[in-house]
Symmetry: C2
Subunit: 357 residues, 2 copies
């Protein structure tokens, strides 16, 4: 098992990463302040891991909310189910919520914890690679609104994160690859040595080798934690974490959320960012090929959807065609292992990227 401490002053917390952590009471009970626990999970994860988690919670009042599975349930109705269960079971301000599941469960459980009785404790037990390397670090919680994705939320840090690599054995292959997209991202934006390690260990990651996954999760969380410690409320460098995401979000929106997985869209989006960085003279052909190959080796798409035109990108990026002088801020690569944020680039390079990739 590896341990990583996320350093946020009073809100600091540890992340435990490794095999067989889920049923271990020694890892979780020291972080439960009161006698009450509410596990929030979904219909897919509950049959696999709920009993195992509960076996580590003997002696507590343990209640549970099992939500339907899917991003489309990340809304105020689901949050209200959590509130209602907390109130019916008379959970007080000392209760602890536990998120058992992927990013959607973590976002909702965290937001319920941020707002129940003006804020109670919560613990993250992420069960997908994407949530283990991304959403469990940083304290972003929230839900979608019918008029916008992730528009309602709060910053609320967990007391502890327990990332058990055993849970990845039941993950569909596409979701494993989608998680690896974010692992690659950390290498590309700030850690060339980690990227080399990823390249050397890709097949073991895809084969769910627990030691290799433990290291991949640890290094990803360490990189993210360093960025978040510097910019907790996302006013500066935290935006580097959006490498590939501006292009990726347009792909997700165009395809309809859930058709391309988030990580798949980010994979293609990172290649678009690398391509544009090459167009602008930052990356040479060798460096661009390196980005392309590592994404491809993770079994991720390396091109945007066939059906998606330059104009589709422009419209999903909320650009007004009459006003193409406006530049959106993009995360680009100065080199492999060093990203930067810019809105200062010739629009032709941007449009060529949308056409070519």
């Amino acid at each position: 098992m590896k341990t990583l401490n996320v350093d946020l002053g009073e809100r600091s917390y540890p992340i435990f990463i490794g095999e067989g952590l889920l049923g271990n009471p020694e890892l979780i009970t020291p972080y439960i302040a009161g006698q009450q626990v509410m596990v929030v999970t979904n219909e897919t994860v509950a049959p696999l891991y709920l009993e195992k988690l509960k076996s580590s919670l003997i002696g507590f009042q343990v209640d549970e909310v099992i939500l339907p599975d899917g991003e489309r349930y990340k809304n105020s109705e689901s949050i209200d189910l959590i509130y209602s269960e907390l109130l019916k079971k008379r959970h007080n301000r000392k209760t602890t919520l536990i998120a058992l599941g992927g990013g959607v469960v973590g976002d909702m459980c965290g937001f319920a914890a941020a707002t129940y009785q003006r804020g109670v404790d919560f613990i993250q037990v992420p069960t997908t690679l994407l949530s283990q390397v991304d959403s469990s670090v940083g304290g972003k919680t929230g839900i979608n609104h019918s008029l916008g994705k992730n528009m309602i939320g709060a910053f609320h840090q967990p007391k502890v994160v327990i990332a058990d690599t055993d849970t990845l054995k039941t993950l569909p292959e596409r979701e494993l690859s989608a998680g690896i997209a974010e692992v690659i991202k950390y290498g590309l934006i700030r850690d060339e040595a980690f990227l080399s390690w990823i390249e050397d260990n890709m097949s073991d990651m895809l084969a769910c080798n627990p030691e290799v996954l433990t290291k991949a999760i640890h290094e990803s969380c360490r990189n993210k934690a360093e960025i978040v410690a510097e910019d907790e409320l996302e006013s500066g460098c935290r935006a580097l974490l959006n490498l590939g995401h501006t292009f990726g979000h347009a792909i997700e929106a165009h395809q309809g959320y859930g058709n391309w997985l988030h990580g798949e869209a980010v994979g293609a989006g990172m290649i678009m960012a690398a391509y544009m960085s090459k167009e602008l003279g930052w990356l040479d052909e060798v460096a661009f090929q390196r980005v392309s190959e590592v994404v491809e080796s993770a079994k991720l798409p390396i091109k945007s959807p066939e059906s998606m035109t330059k104009d589709d990108f422009i419209s999903y990026m909320s650009l007004d065609k009459k006003n193409l002088d406006h530049r959106i801020r993009l995360v680009l690569l100065k080199s492999v292992g060093e990203a930067f944020i810019t809105a200062d680039y010739p629009q032709e390079s941007f449009l060529k990227t949308l056409s070519d990739c």
Copy 2:
């Protein structure tokens, strides 16, 4: 005009108190970070003060949400109206929400600000005495849930509070008295000198004398701000602010919320706390009479409702009659001007208070 600074480190903010502040752009515009403003108000307050407020916001994108008036609308549907308006008018993370109204508007607007795009700025423009002396200090925001009052919320501090005593001229007399209940409370719990001043100036307060109200609001906010600075997240001494509230909440619930105003129930509740303090030997008869007289002089009820029995109190205080050994924590008076929190008292004194008052 008086200014009070609420000292909460990075979250510190000023409170401006006095006559004719509402239309003054110099007081409000320095606290608006972006170009967008969303005023949240209700149907009662909007016709009286919305245009005046907007006259101080020239040059900004000013949008508005006018909610129905009343505690029963302090729910997730109203919050959703605010979110929808923010999204429809494309308010970004630099927007500022302005609460124009009483405590209900302030609580809802503050909660919307705490959770829109994970937290945006907000400004309080309280228009009732109760909200000027109580809810505008302390950062508590939130809504009711169908299963419990004030159960959903967040701590979120405003950027500035503007308390214009002119707005109290349109306040119904009963609501003015209800606000004075909280003013008296600050004197009773920690400021005997302020209580003497209140006794000397009660008729001027009731007559809406602006200088006297300015001082009453300033001293109330100063007392509350000192307590909140010591205990922002309510883990200790902040509970002193609940003097009269444990009894008062039972009265409000028994009568149906809105029939007795919150401040009226607190008025009777403070006398119950004083009576029990006398029973326990902390207050003598003279001190008890002093409490009773100052509450009565504010035209507040000094007895709980005729129709309410001891058993009603017990049931609304969530006490199990089979388990009367359990003691609820009460705020009592050690002397006039010094409150304390205790769960260590003979149950007979408590039951006698419920019967006698």
